[in-house]
């Protein structure tokens, strides 16, 4: 399995475990997860998000065969073009994670669109976690809503050459993003960790509406237990070939892994 939604480092509002490279790898071994895309959890609340990218690059230096680094960049913060260059050329990062609500910008702001276009030119995937944690348990210090799905639809439409992964979200089928023949470019995939796979079965609906090539496995570990995402694939009513695409094939293609 390839997990497109994993993290290293500390989060400002809750203690995380298994959040070092070695700790995460041990957890991955226990859950039979072969590779994981990781970014800095600390960058979510660092003012200068790039400090977290430097930490991640150092942390995974000896584990690049299994840990795939993504950068967290804030296009509303000084120097992001320099930081993008460093993340791509020096750190070998294969993509970005954007936190528009935590970093206080809109995905359709000109600076963010510049960042997305530049990432696309560099062949970097742009991932958008809809949330870092459930809003009901937010700290008294901050109120960070989930990323608005219409705003996401705006950026995928504005940057058709970019490749997006939408993570840690649900309710896509209630928005334009999860509808069949929605008029949007097919340049985004949806990660499964918060999708229902029984009862409402949003996972099944998204497979039906967007197609089997646009759903990817992710857990949100170490914020999350990885087991719910694994269990979703166990109970999913789909062929083994489709499940294999979700487990690894689609992510390997998007990330250009060999």
């Amino acid at each position: 399995m390839i997990d497109v939604n994993a993290y290293l480092g500390h989060f400002a509002f809750r203690q995380l475990r298994n959040n070092t490279a070695e700790g995460l790898l041990r957890l991955m071994d226990r859950k039979r997860i072969e590779r994981a895309v990781v970014s800095s959890a600390a960058s979510i609340t660092y003012r200068n998000a790039h400090s977290g990218n430097e930490e991640i690059a150092a942390e995974i230096r000896d584990h690049r065969d299994r840990l795939i680094p993504f950068a967290v960049l804030n296009p509303a913060y000084a120097g992001w073009r320099d930081d993008l260059k460093t993340c791509h050329e020096e750190f070998g990062m294969k993509g970005l994670r954007l936190y528009p609500r935590w970093h206080s910008y809109k995905l359709t702001d000109p600076a963010c669109l510049d960042l997305v276009h530049m990432a696309a030119e560099l062949g970097m995937v742009v991932s958008i976690p809809l949330r870092a944690e459930d809003r009901r348990q937010r700290s008294w210090l901050v109120d960070v809503p989930d990323v608005d799905k219409d705003e996401i639809a705006g950026v995928v439409k504005a940057a058709p050459k970019a490749q997006f992964i939408l993570m840690s979200g649900s309710g896509f089928t209630g928005s334009v993003l999860g509808r069949k023949n929605n008029g949007l470019p097919a340049n985004y995939a949806v990660e499964i960790c918060l999708l229902s796979a029984l009862l409402a079965n949003e996972l099944g609906q998204i497979l039906e509406n967007l197609g089997e090539d646009r759903v990817v496995f992710g857990t949100g570990m170490p914020f999350h237990y990885p087991d719910p995402a694994i269990l979703k694939l166990d109970v999913l009513e789909a062929s083994e070939a489709v499940k294999e695409k979700i487990r690894r094939g689609n992510a390997a293609r998007l990330l250009r892994l060999t």
Binding site: E133, R136, Q137, R138, L194, A197, D227, L231
Partner: protein
Amino acid sequence: MKMPRRAFLGSLGAGAALMLRASSAQDTPGSGKVIDAHDHLSNRRQKGWEEADRRMIDAADKLGIDQICCSILPPERPTTLEGFRQCNEWMADATRRFPGRVLGYCFVNPGYTKEAIEEIRRYVEGRGFIGIKLYNDYRITEPVLRPIIELAIELRVPVLSHAGHTSWLPEPQPRISDGGHLAEAGQAYPEATLICAHIAGGGDWEWTVKALRSAPNVYLDTSGSVIDEGTVEMAVRVLGADRLLFACDMSLTASVGRIRGADISEADRRKILGGNMQRILNRRRV
């Protein structure tokens, strides 16, 4: 694709060398049985309720859940007398449709004191319901709850209370109870069995676990959609596995995955999955 329940659970892979094998179920009461202590069936005013209830049973089959303790809630707030009476009648019918599989909680608005008492007696004493379910009509510490809790003590059934704690006032639920209220009620009524609902769907779960520490007769159900790593481990560490009850509250893969992934002993996992709830069920007077 339906798999035999035990076979399915036995096939879950490395992290899931779990707990539910019948052959290991010798040490605690009901330890081989998986009981979902907090769930719901559909309000029958909804179109397609029958199919929705069937899907719930099918999902329980897939996940290896043997019994589901359910209530049916009306949508109106505050809960009306007609609303809870109708839902309890539907719930009684559901226990007949799925005998032994679905167990019923009697849902009431404690504000209708006399009628709520009659309703609880009718369904717990007369129809085999296993407990009382409360939503957010009143906080569990309010005086109007006293006759309800005292009746639960008399009948030896649990009171399952909707609960949540946030750092901000949830405007739609001004009278929601939290772990602190449950602990206060538990200390006031040490003979009562109270259940604090959905650790993973009630806001700041670390707060809730800490708030419940000093109320040994308050159980905590493990249901909810939030899949934060470490939730179950902290609850076991602070409260002890004997006070945790496996539950889903409609979040099925999240809730099963949470228990499956928790870094706890297999003995503790068995207690949480069914042993503890079975012990509560065994106490009933009727």
